[in-house]
C-alpha cells in the first residue's frame, strides 16, 4: 500500500484515494497538423518504461481532484518525491546514477584497502609454506 503525499493537500494519504495516470512531462506537439506520422505516433503511444526511476502523473481522485507528479522507483516501488504540476523533478535517474558512481568510487577505495589486507594473508600463507618446508 502506497502512502502518498499530495503536494496540494500537503498531507499523506492512502493509495486508494489516488489514480495513476501514466508518464509525466509529455509535451503536446505545438503544431499537431504539421507532425509527421512518426512524431504523432510517438506522442500518442510511446512511453518510457524504465526499470528504475520513473516520473509519473497521479490524480488525487477522491481528494482535491488535482493532478500532480511522483518520482518513483518501479522496482522497489519507493516514492522518492511528489511535486506539483509545472514543476520539475529534483530526483532523476541521472542524478541517482551520479550519486551511485560517487558511492562506487568510495567503495573502490575501500576495496583497495581490502586487497592490501589480502596480500598480508598471502604473505602468511607463504610463511606457512616455508615453515612446512622447514619441517619437511
Amino acid at each position: 500500500m502506497f502512502h502518498i503525499y499530495c503536494p496540494y493537500c500537503e498531507e499523506l494519504r492512502e493509495e486508494e484515494e489516488f489514480h495513476p495516470k501514466g508518464q509525466a512531462h509529455i509535451a503536446r506537439p505545438e503544431e499537431p497538423d504539421t507532425c509527421s506520422d512518426e512524431e504523432w505516433g510517438d506522442y500518442l503511444f510511446f512511453r518510457d518504461n524504465p526499470r528504475g526511476i520513473h516520473h509519473e502523473m497521479w490524480l488525487h481522485a477522491v481528494g482535491c481532484r488535482k493532478f500532480f507528479n511522483i518520482t518513483r522507483n518501479t522496482v522497489s516501488y519507493e516514492i522518492l518525491e511528489t511535486y506539483k504540476m509545472g514543476e520539475q523533478p529534483t530526483i532523476t535517474a541521472e542524478h541517482l546514477a551520479r550519486e551511485e558512481k560517487n558511492a562506487r568510487e568510495e567503495k573502490t577505495n575501500n576495496a583497495q584497502v581490502a586487497e592490501g589486507g589480502q596480500q598480508t594473508v598471502g604473505a602468511s600463507d607463504a610463511a606457512v609454506a616455508s615453515v612446512k618446508g622447514a619441517q619437511a
Binding site: E15, G41, R51, T74, V75
Partner: protein, 416 residues
C-alpha cells in the same frame, strides 16, 4: 527422448521409478547458433520447438536468465479462449486454440487442456449488446460462441448469484464451449522437452546483457556466460521487453504493470467452468487440485516488482464474492504478481525491427498464456522465412505510426 505412456508408467512403477530420464539437457552455450530466442517462457520455448519441428532449424538456443517457465508462464490463471472481436486477433487466438486441441498428443506431454468452457458475463444492457456483437463476429470467423440469458448462465453455474437482488445483476453471458484451462507449467515443460529432443539448446541462468549489432544487422548477444553469435534473434521477454529493446536502442510502445492472481485453499469440485466478468472485474476457475484460481485487473502504475497492491486484491475479491456469495468465507492460500507488458491497443507486437534479424514478440499484456502455441508457431515461421507470417503481420510495430490499431480492449478487457 523417452516417450511417456500409460504402459511406461507401469513399467517405471515396477522399477521403483528409478529409470526416469531428465526431461532436457543442461548444455554449455556454443559460440554460434542459427537462431537465438531470448526468454525461456512458454512463447519462447514454443517458438524454438516450431523452428526445429516445422522449419528444420535445430541449431537454436533459448537463452533464459532464470529457469524455464519461471515468469508469467508460472504466474497466470491458465485460461484459454479465442473469442476476440476483430478478424486479426480472432485469427491469431483461434490459430492457438487449434494447436491447443492436439497439443498433449503432439508434445507427448499431458498439458491437461480441459475444454470446460468460458463464460463472459454481461451486467448491463451495453454489456449485452457488446457480447452480441462479439459473438456474431466470432461466428463469422468460425469461432464457436453463444449468447446466453441469465437463466442459461444459472443452469451452467448453479452456485452463482444470478438473481435480481444482486447489486449488479447478471443479464446474460457469452459462452465459448471450446475454451477452457490448461496446466501452465506443463505447457512450458512440454515444449522444452520436445524442443530439447529436436536438438535445441536450453540455456538457463544465462542473462542477456546486450546485443551485438554491426551495420544495422544483429550479430548475436552478450550474456553473463560469454558472447553467443546468431544472425537471427527473437526477443520474447514479456514484462522485460522494454528493457531489452533499450539495449538495442529501440523504443517500444509498452508499459510494464504488475498483474496479480491468487488461489484459495483446495475445495471439493464446485465450479466446472471458467467465469469472467468485465463489469464487476474478476475471473475465476477451479483447478483440478481444487483451488479456486482468481485474477482481475492490473495495478494501474508501472512496476517491475512482481508483486501488487492490496487495494487491487481487495477489489478482485469483492467482485468474486459479488458473483459467488458462497465463496465469502473461503480462505486464500497464496497471492502473487507477474509483470505484464501492456500495449495501447491491448494487442501484442509480433514484429521485425529496424535492426535486421532482430525480432520482437511481446506486448501480450494480460492475456498471453492462451496464445502460447499460436504465438510460437507464427513467430517461428516469421524467424525462419525472414518475413512475418500472414497471421502475425497485422501485429507489426508499424501500426502505432500508421494508425492501423487493433482495438481489443473490449475482448481483452479484464477477461484475460
Amino acid at each position: 527422448m523417452q516417450r511417456y505412456s500409460g504402459f511406461g508408467l507401469v513399467k517405471h512403477a515396477l522399477r521403483h521409478h528409478e529409470g526416469w530420464q531428465r526431461q532436457w539437457r543442461n548444455p554449455t552455450p556454443k559460440p554460434r547458433y542459427d537462431v537465438i530466442i531470448v526468454g525461456g517462457g512458454g512463447h519462447g520455448l514454443a517458438t524454438a520447438y516450431y523452428l526445429a519441428k516445422e522449419h528444420g532449424i535445430t541449431n537454436v538456443a533459448v537463452v533464459e536468465k532464470g529457469w524455464l517457465g519461471g515468469g508469467n508462464t508460472a504466474r497466470n490463471t491458465t485460461i484459454v479462449r479465442s473469442n476476440y472481436l476483430w478478424d486479426e486477433s480472432a485469427a491469431l487466438y483461434e490459430h492457438a486454440m487449434k494447436h491447443w486441441e492436439g497439443l498433449s498428443q503432439e508434445l507427448n506431454y499431458n498439458v491437461m487442456f480441459s475444454q470446460r468452457g468460458v463464460l463472459n458475463l454481461g451486467h448491463t444492457l451495453q454489456d449485452m449488446r457488446d457480447i452480441q456483437r462479439r459473438v456474431n463476429a466470432n461466428r463469422l470467423n468460425g469461432i464457436d460462441g453463444e449468447v446466453l440469458d441469465a437463466e442459461g448462465v444459472q443452469s451452467l453455474v448453479p452456485i452463482m448469484d444470478c438473481s435480481k437482488r444482486a447489486r449488479y445483476p447478471v443479464m446474460g453471458a457469452s459462452w465459448q464451449p471450446r475454451a477452457g484451462v490448461a496446466r501452465h507449467d506443463a505447457v512450458a515443460w512440454g515444449y522444452a522437452r520436445a524442443a530439447d529432443a529436436l536438438g535445441v539448446d536450453l540455456l538457463q541462468n544465462t542473462e542477456v546483457t546486450g546485443f551485438k549489432i554491426r551495420d544495422g544487422q544483429i550479430q548475436g548477444v552478450h550474456t553473463n556466460r560469454g558472447d553467443i553469435e546468431a544472425k537471427t534473434v527473437g526477443c520474447v521477454t514479456a514484462g522485460n521487453s522494454s528493457v531489452m529493446a533499450g539495449m538495442a536502442g529501440l523504443n517500444l510502445p509498452l508499459e510494464s504493470h504488475p498483474l496479480q492472481a491468487l488461489v484459495s485453499e483446495p475445495l471439493k469440485p464446485v465450479l466446472d467452468t471458467v467465469v469472467m466478468s468485465n463489469h464487476v472485474h474478476g475471473y475465476i476457475n477451479q483447478s483440478d487440485k481444487g483451488d479456486l484460481v482468481i485474477g482481475a485487473g492490473i495495478d494501474g502504475y508501472n512496476g517491475y516488482g512482481q508483486r501488487g497492491s492490496y487495494p487491487t486484491v481487495e477489489h478482485t475479491l469483492q467482485a468474486i464474492v459479488e458473483m459467488f456469495p458462497i465463496f465469502s468465507r473461503v480462505r486464500m492460500n497464496r497471492q502473487w504478481g507477474g509483470i505484464v507488458d501492456t500495449c495501447p491497443d491491448a494487442c501484442p507486437i509480433l514484429s521485425k525491427t529496424k535492426i535486421k534479424g532482430l525480432y520482437f514478440n511481446c506486448g501480450w499484456g494480460t492475456g498471453g498464456f492462451k496464445a502460447t502455441p499460436g504465438s510460437g508457431h507464427v513467430f517461428a515461421a516469421s524467424l525462419a522465412k525472414g518475413e512475418m507470417h500472414p497471421i502475425a503481420a497485422p501485429f507489426s510495430i508499424d501500426r502505432f505510426h500508421s494508425g492501423a490499431l487493433i482495438d481489443e480492449h473490449g475482448a481483452a478487457g479484464v477477461a484475460h
